[in-house]
């Protein structure tokens, strides 16, 4: 396929983005549809945080539920306990996630593969324990009564309490995330991450400090998941220790893997399929867990490169015929 000229491509992207925005309305526009779309946007933003680590750095971070929860808890504490606005809560979410990522990044700096995954997993369990026992974080009851999301830009103020009003915010966050991930992959850091992943020796011969690259990528990735958490806190109006549930972790992992790694729209498509199932064809909490696990295991066992690869393989076969 030949690349389109830049202005045409920009126009195409804008049209696509606009179509995406009106998609829930085209699908009936009920509150349930908007709610589902808001969830898809929020959870795929969360997944993109993990996507950078998994697809570009080649490691599995199991601490991204903790970053997601950190964003949500920061938003809840700042807006409920301190009465701050959503912008301040957003800054708090990003800063808190950066701090946690810095600590975790330093701890895991020299670990690789399963050691990295296990330490990040243990860190997530510890964060959940701390959240469940520390009164400052609401203990096991969590924090309730988060006010509706209100963002003011200059004199204009946008508020959301119902799913249809919420959708633009979630959609904007998703577009922003997509832009950041796209830019990241083309950036010096993104290229360095891939090189450190694919060929660490070559990377170090090229003068790249592997550990520094890993830490920086970790610091880029954490705020992405935290921002999703920030939005989710307002969406749900309460935060609790259920944010650490492995369900979110497996949702993120499956979302990234289902469509295919290192595809810009991969996590969005994967998450859309999974959240769509949960929202429209739910089999109850346990049934949904069962489906999620089965999808993850099935993909890894039969098509580890993702559904997109299956389709690509078929079209290659067709060309060869």
């Amino acid at each position: 396929m030949k690349a389109l000229p830049a202005p045409l491509r920009l126009f195409g992207l804008a049209a696509l983005a606009l179509l995406g925005f009106f998609l829930p309305r085209l699908l009936g526009g009920s509150s349930h549809v908007y709610d589902t779309f808001g969830m898809i946007a929020t959870f795929s933003a969360m997944s993109y945080g993990l996507d950078i680590i998994l697809s570009d750095l080649g490691e599995i971070s199991l601490a991204h539920t903790a970053f997601f929860a950190t964003g949500a808890y920061a938003a809840a504490i700042l807006s409920v306990n301190d009465g701050q606005g959503a912008w301040v809560a957003m800054a708090g979410a990003v800063l808190a996630a950066l701090a946690l990522a810095l600590v975790l990044g330093m701890i895991t700096l020299r670990t690789r593969e399963f050691a990295f995954s296990l330490v990040t997993y243990a860190a997530a369990v510890v964060c959940m324990n701390v959240a469940a026992n520390w009164d400052f974080l609401g203990g096991s009851d969590g924090i309730v009564g988060i006010p509706p999301l209100t963002l003011s830009i200059g004199p204009a103020s946008f508020s959301a309490s119902q799913p249809p009003q919420f959708w633009p915010f979630a959609y904007l966050l998703l577009l922003l995330t997509l832009y950041v991930v796209h830019r990241f992959r083309r950036s010096r850091l993104g290229q360095a991450a891939l090189m450190v992943h694919m060929n660490p020796r070559l990377a170090s011969m090229c003068g790249l400090a592997g550990n520094q690259v890993r830490l920086l990528v970790f610091l880029v990735s954490a705020p992405i998941s935290a921002l999703a958490g920030w939005l989710y806190a307002f969406q749900r109006a309460y935060v609790g220790t259920d944010l650490f549930d492995t369900y979110f972790l497996v949702l993120m992992l499956t979302g990234v893997i289902l469509a295919g790694r290192r595809l810009l729209l991969g996590p969005l498509l994967g998450t859309a399929l999974l959240v769509g199932q949960k929202s429209f064809f739910s089999l109850g909490a346990y049934g949904d867990k069962l489906i999620l696990g089965t999808v993850l295991v099935g993909i890894l066992c039969f098509c580890p490169k993702g559904l997109a690869n299956l389709w690509r393989r078929r079209s290659h076969a067709a060309v060869e015929k």
């Binding site: 599995i60 593969e113 296990l118 243990a122 701390v130 497996v250 346990y286 999620l292 696990g293 890894l300």
Partner: protein, 289 residues
Amino acid sequence: MNVAQQLVNGIIIGHAYALVAVGWTLLLGAARLVNFGHGQIYMVSAFIAWWVMSTTGLPYALAVPLAILASAALGAIMQRLFLRLTLSQDLVNLMIATLGFGQILEGAAGLAFGPKPETFTSPLQAIIFTLGPVWFTAQDTLTVGATILVFLGLYLVLDRTRFGAAVRMVAEDPPLVALYGIQISHVYISIFAFEGAAVAFAAVLIAPRTPILTSMGFEQVVMTFVVVVLGGIGSVGGSYIAGLLLGLFTTFFSALVSPAYTTASIFALLIAFMVLRPGKLAASGNFAR
């Protein structure tokens, strides 16, 4: 504080930790594999024992082998499913797949057994020994004795038998072992079956102490991981000692400081260990690419 009693509690809990972790020691040490579904197999084993006892009325002594058999089969099925990933040494995908398998088990257990906490009891819990200021149950004695036997058995099998040699060879160089004529897929499946059986054995001995919940698998992996790492990855004797020390540490930590932050304190311990003795966990060890 009754120091002697805490000491006894610590020893019992320490053996329990070691027994839960013994399957992982083999898995990680000998086969270089991890299993994030470990905690969920623990949970499922406890529920199978509970279900057998509450629906069929079979005694505890029969529920134990049934749960162990079922979980050994579960471990074997799991590895059979993942065989392609294991044989291609696709460890990243394998790790995620075990996490997904754990999610399947949790969902299925929730559907089958419901969300309520359940309890099942062993008749040995009612038999109490008192020695001066300390007391413990016959179940505790069984847990300690069984742990010692399992560790001894594993050590002997790994060190003295042909099969043990095959397991150690597979850890070093799977393709070479295959050339030598050993069916490495059988070795991998056996290792996973052992992992399932061992964690099931631990579950049926330990789970009667507390109510069981289908969500309890999440935290189980952490303690196991710390035991295996502190024990020096793959060292059978090391895991035993690490489990014992960890049991004493958590008992005294929760008695003296705070029971709520025990997991956090264990994590702090792990980090201190990783900083002081990076060894096998660091990039320079066997596990680096």
